[in-house]
Amino acid sequence: MTDPVPFITAAYLIGMLLIVGFATWIQWHRQKIKRTLSLIQP
Protein backbone atom coordinates (compact mmCIF):
# COMPACT_ATOMS: atom_id res chain seq x y z
CA MET A 1 0.00 0.00 0.00
CA THR A 2 1.23 3.53 -0.83
CA ASP A 3 2.63 5.57 2.07
CA PRO A 4 -0.11 8.18 2.75
CA VAL A 5 2.10 10.71 4.60
CA PRO A 6 3.59 12.48 1.52
CA PHE A 7 0.12 12.81 -0.03
CA ILE A 8 -1.50 14.21 3.12
CA THR A 9 1.46 16.58 3.63
CA ALA A 10 1.37 17.78 0.01
CA ALA A 11 -2.40 18.43 0.13
CA TYR A 12 -2.26 20.47 3.35
CA LEU A 13 0.85 22.37 2.23
CA ILE A 14 -0.85 23.41 -1.02
CA GLY A 15 -3.92 24.43 1.01
CA MET A 16 -1.84 26.50 3.38
CA LEU A 17 0.14 28.09 0.53
CA LEU A 18 -2.94 29.17 -1.43
CA ILE A 19 -5.08 30.39 1.49
CA VAL A 20 -2.37 32.10 3.54
CA GLY A 21 -0.71 33.34 0.34
CA PHE A 22 -3.94 34.98 -0.86
CA ALA A 23 -4.60 36.56 2.58
CA THR A 24 -1.02 37.92 2.65
CA TRP A 25 -1.29 39.25 -0.89
CA ILE A 26 -4.53 41.12 0.02
CA GLN A 27 -2.76 42.83 2.96
CA TRP A 28 0.33 43.67 0.87
CA HIS A 29 -1.86 45.05 -1.94
CA ARG A 30 -3.81 47.22 0.54
CA GLN A 31 -0.60 48.74 1.86
CA LYS A 32 0.49 49.47 -1.72
CA ILE A 33 -2.82 51.23 -2.55
CA LYS A 34 -2.73 53.19 0.71
CA ARG A 35 0.82 54.37 0.00
CA THR A 36 -0.22 55.62 -3.46
CA LEU A 37 -3.37 57.24 -2.02
CA SER A 38 -1.31 59.09 0.57
CA LEU A 39 0.81 60.55 -2.25
CA ILE A 40 -2.23 61.85 -4.18
CA GLN A 41 -4.43 62.97 -1.28
CA PRO A 42 -3.38 66.13 0.54
Binding site: M1, P4, G15, R30, L37
Partner: protein, 222 residues
Protein backbone atom coordinates in the same frame (compact mmCIF):
# COMPACT_ATOMS: atom_id res chain seq x y z
CA UNK B 1 -11.53 44.59 9.91
CA UNK B 2 -8.57 44.22 12.20
CA UNK B 3 -5.70 41.91 11.31
CA UNK B 4 -6.12 39.90 14.51
CA UNK B 5 -9.43 38.51 13.20
CA UNK B 6 -7.65 37.11 10.13
CA UNK B 7 -4.96 35.59 12.36
CA UNK B 8 -7.64 34.13 14.65
CA UNK B 9 -9.46 32.47 11.76
CA UNK B 10 -6.22 31.19 10.20
CA UNK B 11 -5.29 29.81 13.65
CA UNK B 12 -8.71 28.12 13.86
CA UNK B 13 -8.05 26.64 10.41
CA UNK B 14 -4.74 25.14 11.54
CA UNK B 15 -6.34 23.81 14.74
CA UNK B 16 -9.24 22.20 12.86
CA UNK B 17 -6.81 20.69 10.34
CA UNK B 18 -4.83 19.30 13.30
CA UNK B 19 -8.02 17.81 14.68
CA UNK B 20 -8.72 16.11 11.36
CA UNK B 21 -5.15 14.82 10.92
CA UNK B 22 -4.35 13.66 14.47
CA UNK B 23 -7.63 13.60 16.39
CA UNK B 24 -9.89 11.40 14.28
CA UNK B 25 -9.96 7.61 13.81
CA UNK B 26 -8.54 5.89 10.72
CA UNK B 27 -10.98 5.02 7.95
CA UNK B 28 -11.54 1.28 7.70
CA UNK B 29 -11.64 1.25 3.86
CA UNK B 30 -9.22 4.00 2.76
CA UNK B 31 -6.76 4.01 5.65
CA UNK B 32 -4.88 7.18 6.60
CA UNK B 33 -5.04 8.90 3.22
CA UNK B 34 -8.73 9.69 3.78
CA UNK B 35 -7.55 12.52 6.10
CA UNK B 36 -7.32 14.76 3.02
CA UNK B 37 -11.14 14.86 3.34
CA UNK B 38 -10.79 17.51 6.09
CA UNK B 39 -9.33 19.88 3.51
CA UNK B 40 -10.88 18.62 0.27
CA UNK B 41 -14.56 18.65 1.30
CA UNK B 42 -14.46 22.08 3.07
CA UNK B 43 -12.76 23.54 -0.03
CA UNK B 44 -15.44 22.06 -2.30
CA UNK B 45 -18.23 23.33 -0.02
CA UNK B 46 -16.63 26.79 0.01
CA UNK B 47 -16.34 26.80 -3.79
CA UNK B 48 -20.05 25.93 -4.01
CA UNK B 49 -20.96 28.49 -1.35
CA UNK B 50 -19.00 31.14 -3.31
CA UNK B 51 -21.03 30.35 -6.41
CA UNK B 52 -24.23 30.82 -4.36
CA UNK B 53 -22.95 34.20 -3.13
CA UNK B 54 -22.02 35.11 -6.71
CA UNK B 55 -25.55 34.21 -7.80
CA UNK B 56 -27.09 36.52 -5.15
CA UNK B 57 -24.64 39.30 -6.05
CA UNK B 58 -25.37 38.88 -9.76
CA UNK B 59 -29.12 39.16 -9.19
CA UNK B 60 -28.54 42.31 -7.10
CA UNK B 61 -26.20 43.74 -9.76
CA UNK B 62 -28.91 43.30 -12.40
CA UNK B 63 -31.60 44.69 -10.15
CA UNK B 64 -29.79 47.62 -8.54
CA UNK B 65 -27.20 49.40 -10.63
CA UNK B 66 -24.54 49.84 -7.98
CA UNK B 67 -20.77 49.38 -8.43
CA UNK B 68 -20.49 47.66 -5.07
CA UNK B 69 -22.19 44.50 -6.41
CA UNK B 70 -19.61 44.29 -9.20
CA UNK B 71 -16.83 44.59 -6.62
CA UNK B 72 -18.41 41.86 -4.53
CA UNK B 73 -18.79 39.73 -7.66
CA UNK B 74 -15.10 40.04 -8.48
CA UNK B 75 -14.01 39.29 -4.91
CA UNK B 76 -16.31 36.26 -4.71
CA UNK B 77 -15.06 34.93 -8.07
CA UNK B 78 -11.43 35.26 -6.89
CA UNK B 79 -12.16 33.38 -3.67
CA UNK B 80 -14.27 30.88 -5.63
CA UNK B 81 -11.48 30.05 -8.09
CA UNK B 82 -8.95 29.60 -5.27
CA UNK B 83 -11.18 27.10 -3.46
CA UNK B 84 -12.16 25.32 -6.69
CA UNK B 85 -8.49 24.90 -7.61
CA UNK B 86 -7.75 23.66 -4.09
CA UNK B 87 -10.61 21.16 -4.44
CA UNK B 88 -9.09 19.91 -7.71
CA UNK B 89 -5.50 19.76 -6.35
CA UNK B 90 -6.41 17.99 -3.11
CA UNK B 91 -8.80 15.63 -4.91
CA UNK B 92 -6.06 14.82 -7.39
CA UNK B 93 -3.55 14.12 -4.59
CA UNK B 94 -6.15 11.92 -2.90
CA UNK B 95 -6.94 10.20 -6.20
CA UNK B 96 -3.46 8.80 -6.80
CA UNK B 97 -3.19 6.49 -3.77
CA UNK B 98 -6.93 5.68 -3.92
CA UNK B 99 -7.64 5.23 -7.66
CA UNK B 100 -4.08 4.91 -8.97
CA UNK B 101 -4.29 8.11 -11.06
CA UNK B 102 -4.06 11.85 -10.41
CA UNK B 103 -6.69 12.69 -13.00
CA UNK B 104 -9.45 10.98 -14.92
CA UNK B 105 -12.23 12.50 -17.06
CA UNK B 106 -14.79 11.45 -14.49
CA UNK B 107 -18.11 13.39 -14.34
CA UNK B 108 -17.45 14.90 -10.88
CA UNK B 109 -13.89 15.94 -11.76
CA UNK B 110 -14.81 17.32 -15.17
CA UNK B 111 -17.77 19.39 -13.90
CA UNK B 112 -15.54 20.79 -11.11
CA UNK B 113 -12.89 21.70 -13.70
CA UNK B 114 -15.64 23.47 -15.67
CA UNK B 115 -16.47 25.45 -12.51
CA UNK B 116 -12.82 26.58 -12.26
CA UNK B 117 -12.82 27.57 -15.95
CA UNK B 118 -16.08 29.51 -15.48
CA UNK B 119 -14.65 31.40 -12.49
CA UNK B 120 -11.54 32.19 -14.56
CA UNK B 121 -13.81 33.34 -17.40
CA UNK B 122 -15.67 35.65 -15.02
CA UNK B 123 -12.40 37.24 -13.87
CA UNK B 124 -11.12 37.60 -17.46
CA UNK B 125 -14.39 39.19 -18.54
CA UNK B 126 -14.31 41.55 -15.58
CA UNK B 127 -10.73 42.58 -16.35
CA UNK B 128 -11.31 43.00 -20.07
CA UNK B 129 -14.30 45.36 -19.82
CA UNK B 130 -14.39 48.89 -18.50
CA UNK B 131 -16.50 49.89 -15.52
CA UNK B 132 -20.15 50.47 -16.34
CA UNK B 133 -23.60 48.94 -16.86
CA UNK B 134 -22.41 46.72 -19.76
CA UNK B 135 -19.83 44.95 -17.58
CA UNK B 136 -22.34 44.66 -14.73
CA UNK B 137 -24.85 42.96 -17.01
CA UNK B 138 -22.46 40.54 -18.76
CA UNK B 139 -20.71 39.52 -15.52
CA UNK B 140 -24.05 39.04 -13.74
CA UNK B 141 -25.27 36.68 -16.47
CA UNK B 142 -22.04 34.67 -16.22
CA UNK B 143 -22.38 34.66 -12.42
CA UNK B 144 -25.81 33.05 -12.75
CA UNK B 145 -24.44 30.45 -15.22
CA UNK B 146 -21.64 29.61 -12.73
CA UNK B 147 -24.21 28.87 -10.04
CA UNK B 148 -26.10 26.60 -12.46
CA UNK B 149 -23.01 24.33 -12.66
CA UNK B 150 -23.09 23.54 -8.92
CA UNK B 151 -26.18 21.27 -8.84
CA UNK B 152 -24.69 19.40 -11.83
CA UNK B 153 -21.42 18.86 -9.88
CA UNK B 154 -23.34 17.75 -6.80
CA UNK B 155 -25.59 15.30 -8.64
CA UNK B 156 -22.87 14.07 -11.05
CA UNK B 157 -22.02 11.10 -8.80
CA UNK B 158 -25.61 9.87 -8.91
CA UNK B 159 -26.47 10.80 -12.52
CA UNK B 160 -23.41 9.13 -14.09
CA UNK B 161 -21.22 6.14 -13.24
CA UNK B 162 -18.14 7.73 -11.70
CA UNK B 163 -14.98 6.78 -9.83
CA UNK B 164 -15.74 9.46 -7.25
CA UNK B 165 -17.50 8.22 -4.16
CA UNK B 166 -21.18 9.16 -3.61
CA UNK B 167 -22.11 11.80 -0.99
CA UNK B 168 -21.20 10.69 2.54
CA UNK B 169 -22.20 13.72 4.60
CA UNK B 170 -25.46 14.93 3.05
CA UNK B 171 -27.18 11.83 1.71
CA UNK B 172 -30.66 10.43 2.08
CA UNK B 173 -30.90 8.31 5.23
CA UNK B 174 -28.22 10.30 7.07
CA UNK B 175 -24.43 10.47 7.03
CA UNK B 176 -22.39 7.25 6.80
CA UNK B 177 -19.50 8.79 8.82
CA UNK B 178 -18.68 8.12 12.45
CA UNK B 179 -19.51 10.85 14.99
CA UNK B 180 -15.85 11.88 15.52
CA UNK B 181 -15.16 12.18 11.81
CA UNK B 182 -18.39 14.07 11.18
CA UNK B 183 -17.75 16.64 13.96
CA UNK B 184 -14.22 17.31 12.68
CA UNK B 185 -15.45 17.61 9.10
CA UNK B 186 -18.34 19.96 9.95
CA UNK B 187 -15.96 22.14 12.04
CA UNK B 188 -13.50 22.31 9.14
CA UNK B 189 -16.32 23.28 6.76
CA UNK B 190 -17.53 26.09 9.09
CA UNK B 191 -13.98 27.44 9.55
CA UNK B 192 -13.34 27.37 5.79
CA UNK B 193 -16.60 29.24 5.10
CA UNK B 194 -15.59 31.89 7.64
CA UNK B 195 -12.18 32.24 5.97
CA UNK B 196 -13.89 32.69 2.60
CA UNK B 197 -16.21 35.38 3.99
CA UNK B 198 -13.28 37.28 5.54
CA UNK B 199 -11.21 37.02 2.35
CA UNK B 200 -14.16 38.33 0.29
CA UNK B 201 -14.71 41.19 2.74
CA UNK B 202 -11.03 42.15 2.75
CA UNK B 203 -10.76 41.93 -1.02
CA UNK B 204 -13.82 44.18 -1.49
CA UNK B 205 -12.18 46.78 0.73
CA UNK B 206 -9.13 46.72 -1.56
CA UNK B 207 -11.31 47.06 -4.65
CA UNK B 208 -13.09 50.05 -3.11
CA UNK B 209 -9.77 51.68 -2.27
CA UNK B 210 -8.58 51.01 -5.83
CA UNK B 211 -11.71 52.69 -7.21
CA UNK B 212 -11.11 55.70 -4.98
CA UNK B 213 -7.51 55.86 -6.22
CA UNK B 214 -8.69 55.62 -9.83
CA UNK B 215 -11.18 58.48 -9.35
CA UNK B 216 -8.60 60.68 -7.61
CA UNK B 217 -6.00 60.05 -10.33
CA UNK B 218 -8.58 60.86 -13.01
CA UNK B 219 -9.48 64.13 -11.24
CA UNK B 220 -5.82 65.03 -10.82
CA UNK B 221 -5.13 64.52 -14.54
CA UNK B 222 -7.98 66.82 -15.64
Amino acid sequence: MKNYLIFAVLGAMLASWGWGIWGTPTDIHMGEVYRIIYLHVPCAMTAFFSSFLLFITSILALWRKDDVFQQYGKAIAEVGIIFTLLTLFTGSIWGYPTWGTYWTWDARLTTTLILAILYAGYLLLYASMSRGPQRAKVCAVLGIIIFADVPIIYKSVTWWRTLHQPPTLMRPGGSSMSGDMKSALVTNIIVMLLIALILIWERVRNLQLEQKLEELSYRAMR
